[in-house]
């Protein structure tokens, strides 16, 4: 525990040292703002109404971003689970869709962002769709592999217990895919944030990514740095939540219990 805190502490010390050194040379330096400046900015963004709009910027940005991320991940998980399961278990669906999904997953999502803007406009839909396009093929492929990995013995055993294909999906395959879905979501969180911030940076009026790219014009490191830290914390929190859910709800799948 102490050992894992060490790199963080070293990073903070290094920051404080260089910040202080630069500010001593030029009090107007904006690159490495002093902790007091950062604290004041955070206070202004989080706890004071914006003079122009009357909003609490940090919370509004957070809600906007998390909403986009939540909807997109929800849709991706639903699509990923149903398609992955179908591809993994039904040979005809696999023959039809597996190569298509494999090809889709190789398209760099950012390259088709302009298409999304042209087709669905600059609204929420474009940003959410970008995340879905970026994340879903990976989840589909992962879950299809996990489904195919289930031992054939299990399926045959279920058949000898009188299971129909539908019952095999419902009682044997699906319950074993839930923890795998959580794993797949955890792994795609990083990509989801990447696409979210990219989309917000290009066309948005609120959101964490939007804010960072907005204040970049004023070299406002005192905003950017806490925002980056906040995003990191949010991402970590989501990962932690998924991990805990998996351990609690699917104890049969966690090692060593």
């Amino acid at each position: 525990m102490l050992l894992s805190a060490l790199p963080f502490i070293l990073l903070i010390i290094a920051y404080l040292y260089y910040s202080q050194a630069r500010l001593a040379e030029n009090p107007g330096d904006k690159l490495l703002p002093a902790p007091a400046t950062i604290a004041a900015t955070v206070h202004r963004y989080a706890f004071e109404e914006d003079e122009r709009t009357g909003d609490y910027l940090l919370w509004d940005d957070t809600v906007a971003s998390l909403e986009r991320l939540g909807i997109a991940l929800g849709v991706s998980a639903t699509l990923g689970l149903s398609l992955g399961l179908a591809i993994g278990i039904l040979p005809y669906v696999r023959a039809t869709l597996a190569p298509f999904v494999a090809a889709l997953s190789l398209i760099p999502p950012l390259a088709i962002l302009p298409i999304l803007f042209i087709v669905v406009g600059l609204g929420e839909l474009a940003k959410i769709t970008l995340i879905i396009i970026g994340v879903t093929p990976i989840i589909v492929r992962d879950l299809a592999l996990r489904t195919a990995e289930l031992p054939g013995e299990q399926i045959i055993k279920a058949q000898t217990l009188g299971a129909s294909t539908w019952q095999i999906v419902l009682r044997v395959v699906l319950p074993q895919l839930w923890p795998r879905l959580i794993d797949a979501l955890r792994l795609s969180l990083g990509a989801a944030w990447l696409f979210l911030i990219a989309a917000e940076a290009i066309a948005s009026t609120e959101g964490l990514g939007y804010r960072i790219f907005l204040v970049r014009r004023y070299l406002a490191m005192d905003v950017i740095l806490p925002y980056v830290a906040w995003i990191t914390l949010l991402a970590f929190g989501m990962d932690w939540l998924l991990r805990i859910t998996r351990a609690k709800a699917f104890s049969w799948a966690s090692p060593g219990a």
Partner: protein, 262 residues
């Protein structure tokens, strides 16, 4: 009453002949043990009984009807491994067969029907000595306990035929003896026909009422795939048909988690 009749059965994969000209009649309530060298079609034979492989030539009849081409509830199977469902507790693994047959749409039973099924499962759980482990997950069980559960899981569906594919091959010798007592007890309780593939000759003589040896009669050294195996010995044994079922209650099991008071 279950009769298995096999007439002039051949199984080939392309050029490769696996089984040739197998003829067999198995009457009701037999315990058939199957031995033979590796690659002599024992497992293929079992797969055909299971319905995941079809005969290439000849007839394979159960009660005069051709085998269905997929596994069904009249033929249970216990594999050496992987035949339990890791996401279900022991009791739910056992209930699964009853639930699947009782509820085609949801695969789950509720209320009074569930209680009835639960009572049946509890009974069987006790018969295989696993009542203390009812709420555990399969991977928390020892290998012997897993196999006992897997056997019980098949038996609860009351199959006409139970197929055992080297079920005790991965177990310690000490545990195997308990498993033999158990399987004979269940066999006598349910009056089913058992086909058991094994590598253990002693086991095959000890358990069976009928011992089948699969072997190749002809071998062409230049083309080993040209000739398949067939039944070279069909030995009737005394078996344990007369053995009265052990009194219900706990079995003497060596690997139970805690000795249960019964």
């Amino acid at each position: 009453m279950t009769q298995v009749t096999i007439k002039h059965l051949w199984k080939t994969y392309g050029e490769q002949v696996v089984l040739e000209n197998v003829n067999l009649h198995i009457g009701d309530h037999e315990f058939v043990t199957i031995v033979g060298a590796s690659g002599c079609g024992k497992t293929t034979f079992l797969k055909m009984l299971l319905g995941i492989e079809g005969p290439s030539k000849g007839q394979f009849l159960i009660d005069g009807e051709p085998l269905p081409d997929e596994p069904g509830p009249d033929r249970g199977i216990v594999f050496q491994r992987y035949s339990l469902f890791p996401h279900l507790r022991v009791i739910d693994n056992l209930l699964l067969g009853l639930e699947l047959r009782g509820a085609p749409l949801t695969g789950r039973l509720f209320g009074a029907r569930r209680r009835r099924a639960r009572a049946r499962a509890d009974e069987l759980l006790e018969a295989v000595g696993l009542q203390a482990a009812a709420d555990k997950y399969p991977r928390q069980l020892s290998g012997g306990m897993q196999q006992r559960l897997s056997i019980a899981q098949s038996v609860i569906c009351e199959p006409k035929i139970l197929l055992l594919d080297e079920p005790f091959g991965a177990l310690d010798p000490g545990i195997t003896a308990d498993m033999h007592t158990l399987i004979l007890k269940l066999w006598n309780m349910n009056k089913m026909t058992i086909f058991m593939v094994t590598h253990d000759l002693q086991e095959s003589f000890q358990l069976g009422t009928r011992l089948l040896v699969f072997d190749k009669v002809r071998i062409d050294p230049q083309a080993p795939e040209r000739f398949g195996a067939t039944i070279t010995y069909d030995i009737p044994l005394r078996g344990h048909r007369e053995t009265p079922p052990a009194p219900t209650g706990t079995l003497p099991v060596a690997d139970a988690p805690q000795p249960s008071a019964a």
